[in-house]
Symmetry: C2
Subunit: 313 residues, 2 copies
C-alpha cells in the first residue's frame, strides 16, 4: 500500500473498457487519459492488453502506450496478458505488472482464449519460467486475474471449490498475487464475503484485489462487502466504460468516480482528487463520440459539505 492511501484503485478502463467497445481510441487520447488520471492521483493503471494485434486493433499501440505510461513518476503500469507471447511483448515494452487472466468456468475459458482452465494454468507456468530469465531490475510483478469467479453467462453458477483449487494452483505455480473478478456482474454481497474468505484461507495475503462489474447494479454494494472482509484494492473504470456485450445498455465495470466517492465517504483515503478525476471524463467523451458513459457523481456532484478522507487523519 502506498503511503497516504488506505485503498488502492487500479484504473482498468483503458483495457477492460476499451476491449468492450468497437470504437478505437486514438493513441494520443489514451496517453492523455493516462497522464490525467495519474495527475488526479490514481496510483495504478492497466494501460492496455497484449492480445494478438490482428484480433484487437484497439491495442495495436500497446507498446507505445506502455512506453508513455512508464515515463510518469510513481505510476504503477499494469497490462493484461492472455498468454506467453503477450507476456514477452509486455516485458519487452517495460510494463511493471502483468495480469494473466484465467477463467474458472471451462466454457468461458474456451470461448475466451480457446483453452481449458488447465491448459491456461500450464501457459501460466511457462510465463513464470520465462519471467525467471528476466534480469531482476526488469522483472515485472506477476499477477493473476481469476475471472468468472462468481458465475458465468454460459455455465451459470461456478463452484467455490473450483475457485479455491485454481487460486491455490496459480499461487503454487508462482503468481505474486491474485485478484477475483466478477466478469459478468453476477456477484452479490453475501457471496463476495464468502468467496473472498474461502480463497484467503487458501492463499492468504496473496489474495490482493477485487474486480467487480455493475451489470446488475450491485457493484458498489459488493465493494462494501469486500471491504468488510479486508479487501483493500479494487479495479474500476472511468465512466464505467465498456458496457456489457451481452446486455446492451447495461453498465460494465464499477465506475471509478463513484468508487472514489464511496471510499472517501467511508473515511478511506484513495489519494485521488475527485473533481480532477471527473474532469478526465471529457477525454473519453471527446475521443469516443457516442460512447455511453456511466456514473452518478459526474451528474449529481458531491454532497454539500462533503469532506474527502483526510490525509493527516
Amino acid at each position: 500500500m502506498s503511503e497516504g492511501r488506505d485503498v488502492e484503485i487500479s484504473e482498468v478502463g483503458l483495457r477492460d473498457g476499451l476491449q468492450n467497445t468497437d470504437k478505437v481510441m486514438p493513441t494520443e487520447a489514451k496517453k492523455g487519459w493516462i497522464s490525467a488520471e495519474a495527475a488526479a492521483g490514481v496510483g495504478e493503471i492497466e494501460v492496455c492488453s497484449f492480445v494478438p494485434p490482428k484480433l484487437f486493433p484497439q491495442f495495436l499501440d500497446a507498446g507505445e502506450i506502455v512506453a508513455h505510461a512508464t515515463t510518469i513518476p510513481g505510476l504503477a503500469v499494469a497490462v493484461l496478458v492472455p498468454n506467453l507471447k503477450g507476456a514477452e511483448r509486455a516485458i519487452a515494452a517495460g510494463a511493471h505488472k502483468l495480469t494473466f487472466t484465467i477463467s474458472v468456468s471451462r466454457s468461458h475459458s474456451l470461448a475466451n482464449v480457446r483453452r481449458e482452465p488447465g491448459e491456461q494454468l500450464e501457459e501460466f507456468r511457462r510465463i513464470v519460467e520465462y519471467c525467471r530469465t528476466v534480469p531482476a531490475g526488469r522483472r515485472p510483478i506477476l499477477s493473476v486475474g481469476l475471472s468468472t469467479v462468481f458465475g458465468c453467462t454460459i455455465e451459470g453458477p461456478v463452484k467455490e471449490s473450483d475457485v479455491c483449487r485454481l487460486a491455490a494452483a496459480l499461487i503454487e505455480a508462482g503468481g505474486d498475487d491474485l485478484s477475483l473478478a466478477d466478469t459478468v456482474g453476477y456477484a452479490n454481497p453475501a457471496q463476495v464475503k464468502r468467496v473472498f474468505k474461502a480463497v484467503r484461507r487458501e492463499i492468504g495475503a496473496k489474495l490482493s484485489a477485487a474486480h467487480f462489474h455493475n451489470t446488475r447494479g450491485l457493484g458498489l454494494a459488493n465493494v462494501v462487502a469486500a471491504l468488510e472482509v479486508d479487501v483493500r484494492a479494487f479495479d474500476s473504470s472511468l465512466g464505467g466504460l465498456g458496457g456489457c456485450p451481452f446486455a446492451p445498455g447495461a453498465s460494465g465495470n464499477v465506475v471509478t468516480e463513484d468508487l472514489v466517492f464511496l471510499l472517501e465517504s467511508l473515511g478511506l483515503r484513495t489519494g485521488i482528487d475527485l473533481d480532477q478525476l471527473i474532469a478526465v471524463r471529457r477525454i473519453l467523451s471527446e475521443s469516443l463520440p457516442g460512447e455511453q458513459l456511466y456514473g452518478h457523481l459526474a451528474l449529481a456532484g458531491a454532497p454539500k459539505g462533503f469532506a474527502p478522507a483526510r490525509c493527516d487523519a
Copy 2:
C-alpha cells in the same frame, strides 16, 4: 412482517416518483400500475400524496386512487400526508397507513412545507389527536417519515443528535412507527449503520424502514448496510422513477426491481416475482412517454441459474 417474507418492500413510485416529474400520469394507468405490482407480490404501495390539489395536479385523483387500491385483497395502502388537512382527506378516503413527513433540516423544512421542524411536530400532534377521534376500524397506522436525515442540499451535513431528538419526540407524540429517509442521496454505508443504531437506541422497534435514493450510486450499498443493522423494510420505486430535480439525469429512488434482485440474491424473501415486476415497467413507459426509467435488472436480466430465495426455506 407478512408470512413468507423476510423483508418488506414499499413501492413509493406513485408518490415519490410522480411528485418529481412534471408529467401527469393518467388515473387509469396509476390503477393499472397498482394492480400489477400487487399481483407481482408487492405488499405495500404508497399510492399517492394528500398535498393541496391546487399545487400538485399530479395528485388530483388521490381519493379515486385510494378507493381503487383498497379493493385489492391483502395490499397495504399507504399515502403521504404533509399536514392535518391531508390526513383528514386520507382517512376519509380509507387509506390504511398515513406517512407524515417531517424534515430534520430546518432549511429544507421551510423550503418544502414553509414550516420549521418544530411547527411540523405540532402539526403531527394535531394529526395524532384527530386520529384518536376516528373509530377503531377505520383508524390508520400513523407512520412518520423523517427526511433529510443523512444530509441536506441546502444545509449540508445534518446532526445525528437532531435526528435522534426529533425521532424521539415524534414517537412520544404518538407515531406508530418511523422511517429514516436519505431524501437527497447523501448517505454512505457507514453513516447508515451509525444513524440507524443511534435512532434505535431512542425509539427501539418503532424504527421501521429505510428510504434511500440512488442519486450518488450508493442506494443498494446503503440497503446492505441497513440490513446489517437489522432493518427489514425498504421504500423503493419502480424504474427508479422520479429522478432528482437538483441533478438532471441523476437517478432518484432505489429501483424496486434491483432491490428485489439484491434481497433475493442474499436469500431474503421479498414475496415478489421479479419477472412479473419488471413487466410492470411497460405501464410506466407507455403512460409517461419520454420519462427516463432506471434499473439494471430490466436491461441485464437475472443471472443464468439465478434462484430466488425459497419460500419453503
